[in-house]
């Protein structure tokens, strides 16, 4: 039986009906991974995964996700399993502990098959900054899968796993989900614990999920999200069951379209898909309202001050002293620092550390960091205002479909604009997701749904109703010989 492209719910049912064993499932998964050309994984854990599968088959494991193989983004610490964060500097780092998200998913019975490729320290929108090689988009191996969670998105898109974790600091779940034609969700900031997530920009980083559809995402979120006393920014309110409201009726619901996002400047296919998606929601009884978010245009510059500032400090711990890469043949402490970091970090990471160091420096702090904090507050207020008028906000997930590998690496600014539509929800901290809703140049594109604080249920409800009335999420890439 081919398990490729099966959804999480379908695999659960197969396991429950004993039509397949978890062992077979895991075996098949590793077979598919070994023939994959996308470079989605950095580290695999076949032996441990097979052992867990056997445990499940022997009836020793239960839980919502019991026996299901999933992938973890290589930014989550996994006990005794190498965690590189896509960087050379952590090439040999084996964490002594599990991230809370990993812990939660293991507790639900899931099986971790390995760690997915990603942009180095999650800094990138194309997966080209990974020390472990670019991930290729399963829809076109010459194109990028998006980033930074490109490995997770590609692995799900290619049908290697039915679900994977991701993290989203400025769009790192939604943009690759869109470019790979799958569903991805980033919950409210603080809804999922950051304990064990290697920090990029602490005030923006948020864990989330990739799956083939919104319903699977809801099930995953039921485990990914939790209150965690080990994370001071974790939300203490009780988590909802995200499947509870997924079938709610959309009649009379209001969807906001952001006035300041100029859809007409995008290519025709993206525009057409957007219009078609509006029609689907209208047919379901929802109404469209234009909302004005005057400060949203400040999102990209604001983000590229705050995120580098935080990263410049967060990445100071990688100094070659305690763990990770240490340069050889150094004569003194300063040389140890300079060489270890110069050799251990890639260009994009260095670029952001330099920007961050600059904007926090004495004499520049007020002009950059403080200003950025102010504009962040203004952007956040725009969301609060807009979301008081509408149920959800809708926009394209990214300006275009997947671009060619290498086509934007020379121009960081153009690369940064990939996240034009996604960055603002990180700055505000609101939940957002991307669902497949059409094609441009023969490649998938995504629709973004943004919700109010802690209203993951609502965007999942919208997404699920949309998917019940469309078939974009059933589309799968043609894998040629390997399929």
């Amino acid at each position: 039986m081919s398990i490729r492209f099966k959804t999480l719910a379908e695999l659960k049912e197969l396991l429950e009906k004993k039509e397949i064993s978890s062992y077979e499932l895991v075996k098949e998964t590793f077979k598919n991974i070994s023939s994959s050309k996308t470079n989605s994984f950095i580290t695999l854990d076949e032996e441990a995964a097979l052992n867990k599968a056997r445990d499940f088959d022997e009836g020793k494991v239960d839980g919502d996700l019991a026996g299901i193989p999933i992938a973890q983004k290589d930014l989550f610490c996994t006990k005794n399993l190498r965690t590189t964060c896509g960087s050379k500097i952590l090439e040999n780092f084996i964490p002594p502990y599990d991230a809370t998200v990993v812990d939660n998913l293991l507790a639900a019975g899931s099986i971790c098959v390995g760690k997915t490729n990603m942009d180095e320290f999650a800094m990138g929108s194309s997966n080209e900054t990974s020390y472990y090689g670019t991930v290729r988009n399963p829809w076109d191996l010459e194109r990028v899968p998006g980033g930074s969670s490109g490995g997770s998105a590609a692995a799900v898109s290619e049908g290697l796993v039915c679900a994977a974790t991701g993290t989203d600091t400025g769009g790192s779940i939604r943009q690759p989900a869109a470019l790979c034609g799958i569903t991805g969700i980033k919950p409210t900031y603080g809804r999922a614990s950051r304990w064990g997530m290697i920090a990029f920009a602490s005030s923006l980083d948020q864990a989330g999920a990739f799956a083939r559809n919104a319903e699977d995402c809801a099930l995953l979120l039921n485990h990914i999200c939790s209150h965690d006393s080990k994370d001071s920014t974790s939300i203490s309110e009780e988590r909802e069951n995200y499947l509870d409201n997924i079938n709610n009726n959309l009649k009379g619901k209001k969807i906001g379209i952001i006035k300041e996002f100029d859809i007409s400047s995008l290519n025709k296919e993206v525009q057409d898909s957007f219009e078609k998606s509006k029609k689907i929601f209208e047919a379901l009884g929802a109404n469209f309202v234009e909302v004005s978010m005057p400060n949203i245009k400040l999102s990209v510059p604001t983000y590229y001050v705050i995120a580098p500032a935080e990263c410049s400090s967060n990445l100071s711990r990688f100094d070659g002293v305690k763990y990770g890469y240490r340069a050889k043949d150094v004569d003194n402490l300063e040389e140890l620092y300079i060489k270890s970091r110069s050799e251990g970090f890639g260009d994009e990471v260095k670029r952001r550390i330099l920007i961050g160091t600059y904007v926090l420096s004495a004499g520049f702090y007020d002009a950059y960091y403080k200003k950025a904090q102010q504009s962040r507050r203004m952007i956040k207020n725009d969301f609060v205002d807009a979301l008081s008028e509408v149920d959800v906000i809708m926009s394209p997930s990214s300006p275009s479909s997947a671009f060619k590998i290498g086509s934007k690496t020379e121009d960081p600014i153009e690369m940064y604009l990939e996240d034009l539509f996604t960055i603002s929800s990180n700055l505000a901290g609101v939940p957002a997701m991307s669902i497949p809703h059409g094609f441009s140049d023969g490649l998938p594109i995504g629709l973004q749904l943004i919700g109010n604080y802690l209203e993951e249920s609502k965007i999942l409800n919208f997404a699920h109703q949309y998917q019940k009335n469309s078939d974009w999420h059933f589309k799968t890439p043609n894998l040629g010989e390997s399929s």
């Binding site: 610490c77 964490p95 001071s232 100071s316 711990r317």
Partner: protein, 476 residues
């Protein structure tokens, strides 16, 4: 030309919490290197700090004691710099919104009172320790201390001499130990200070260029380091040179200060709010709880001892000035021992034994229980106060039970009137000359007879009984 000195002190008090400021690792001193380090203290990728509220309670207690303003909402910032014993590459500290602002401390310099204002007191984590002399060709790191909570208490530049600086440190020391905020052990670095010292001409409005002497950890060194620095600066200025603003280290071996490598303070620390921590809010209820468990301070204790137990003012002051002594005294009084007797022995005999050994009462072999037994035996007449001193000396050496010593050495006081009368008769018989003189009005000789009786009984006679019986015998 005459000069005046301006000193401001930054004191680091290590808070006596059980666990670290942002992790659950123990803060115990003196453990094997790197055994009190958890994931957070190691600065592993992915770890996050969680605030230890106990540290806040202690900081607030200190703030209340100096009548400062308590910021019920305070926040943490990151101070970024690279150093091997700083695992995260930044120190978490309170830069913009410290927990304590303002307040003052009264000091006593040779009997003159002076008030030193406090700028602020903020919470921060300590770094680990770099050890450079354990191996010939490498430096090693011990992270046991990394993450230990510190309260940095910053004074206004209102201290005008090394002597005042020492008084200020002593006052702070007494306060933090009394409040149970810090154990005050300077030799272990629990309380250490950085001194900012500058010189200016008397009458000048502007401050001179200052130098900062780092990490001084004894009262004696504070005085010596500052005095050295004052002399050095005056000498520079008088010879027409300038004082360079710099950080200096005090070398107690050579009794001098010298500049630290300039690289170590050429840092731009790039302070910014720590995004891993939300502002810490102390509720009104929590404030109330801290107020209600606020310990009694020395001055209040002293007043209470005098009014409640009628003990001497000087004794009350001595006992109340030390947390350990006052605890010891209060335990004795709670066990129904005679307060006056207890105070008398603590200040007198025990005080001199403590001074002799240069220890604190809880480091001695005298337990509260044993002290109580001793006090009871004096009160119930089993032993005399004089014998008690002998017994104390023995306990001091051996820690043996007071009753055991009394029994073994036959130190029970002689109360038996017949026995005492026998002795008295013997004394009267063998001192007929003195008896005659006494009867002829030489009252002073009464003491001589008491002494003789005591001598005959090896000091074990009950003095009151001896007095009564002697009077009766001599006046008959």
């Amino acid at each position: 030309m005459s000069w005046e000195t301006v000193i401001g002190l930054e004191v680091h008090a290590q808070l006596s919490t059980n666990t670290k400021l942002f992790s659950s690792a123990s803060t115990k001193f003196g453990s094997e290197p790197n055994t009190q380090v958890d994931l957070v203290d190691l600065g592993l990728p992915g770890v996050l700090p969680v605030v230890n509220k106990d540290a806040f309670k202690k900081a607030i207690r200190f703030g209340l004691a100096i009548e400062a303003e308590i910021n019920q909402e305070s926040s943490f910032d990151r101070k970024n710099y690279f150093y091997p014993d700083l695992p995260k590459g930044y120190q978490i500290t309170q830069m913009t919104k410290p927990i304590v602002e303002g307040g003052s401390i009264e000091i006593d310099v040779d009997g003159d009172k002076k008030t030193i204002n406090i700028t602020r007191a903020h919470l921060e984590e300590d770094a680990g320790k770099s050890i450079h002399d354990a191996y010939p060709d490498k430096s090693v790191i011990d992270l046991n201390r990394a993450g230990t909570p510190l309260l940095e208490i910053v004074s206004e530049p209102e201290i005008s001499s090394a002597k005042e600086a020492v008084s200020y440190m002593k006052a702070l020391h007494q306060l933090v130990t009394f409040l149970d905020v810090c154990d005050g052990d300077m030799s272990q670095g629990s309380l250490r200070c950085d001194a900012n010292v500058s010189i200016r001409k008397v009458g000048d409005a502007e401050l001179g260029t200052r130098t900062e002497i780092k990490n001084i950890n004894s009262f004696r060194f504070i005085e010596k380091a500052i005095n050295f620095e004052i002399k050095r600066q005056i000498k520079l200025l008088e010879s027409g040179e300038k004082v360079t603003q710099e950080t200096r280290l005090y070398d107690s071996g050579k009794d001098e200060t010298r500049p630290m490598r300039s690289k170590e303070f050429a840092n731009d620390y790039r302070y910014f709010p720590d995004p891993d921590l939300l502002p810490v809010v102390i509720s009104d209820d929590e404030m109330e709880e801290i107020r209600s468990t606020f310990p009694e301070l020395p001055a209040d204790k002293s007043r209470r001892y005098i009014s409640e137990f009628q003990i001497d003012e000087s004794e009350a002051e001595i006992i109340s000035s030390s947390r350990e002594l006052s605890n010891f005294f209060e335990v004795a009084v709670e066990s129904k021992s005679d307060p006056k007797l207890a105070a008398n022995l603590i200040v007198g005999e025990i005080g001199s034994l403590l001074n002799k050994d240069n220890i604190k009462i809880d480091e001695s072999k005298l337990s509260s229980d044993n002290f109580n037994i001793l006090l009871q035996r004096i009160s119930d007449g089993t032993i005399s106060k004089k014998i008690a001193k002998t017994i104390l000396a023995e306990i001091w050496e051996t820690g043996r039970n007071a009753d055991e010593i009394i029994n073994d050495q036959g130190l029970v006081q002689i109360q038996d009137e017949n026995l005492l009368e026998e002795v008295i008769t013997k004394v009267i018989k063998s001192n007929t000359k003195q008896v005659e003189d006494y009867k002829n009005g030489k009252d002073k000789l009464f003491g001589f007879f008491v002494g003789q009786v005591m001598k005959e009984t090896q000091g074990k006679a009950n003095p009151k009984a001896v007095n009564d019986l002697l009077k009766k015998a001599l006046n008959s």
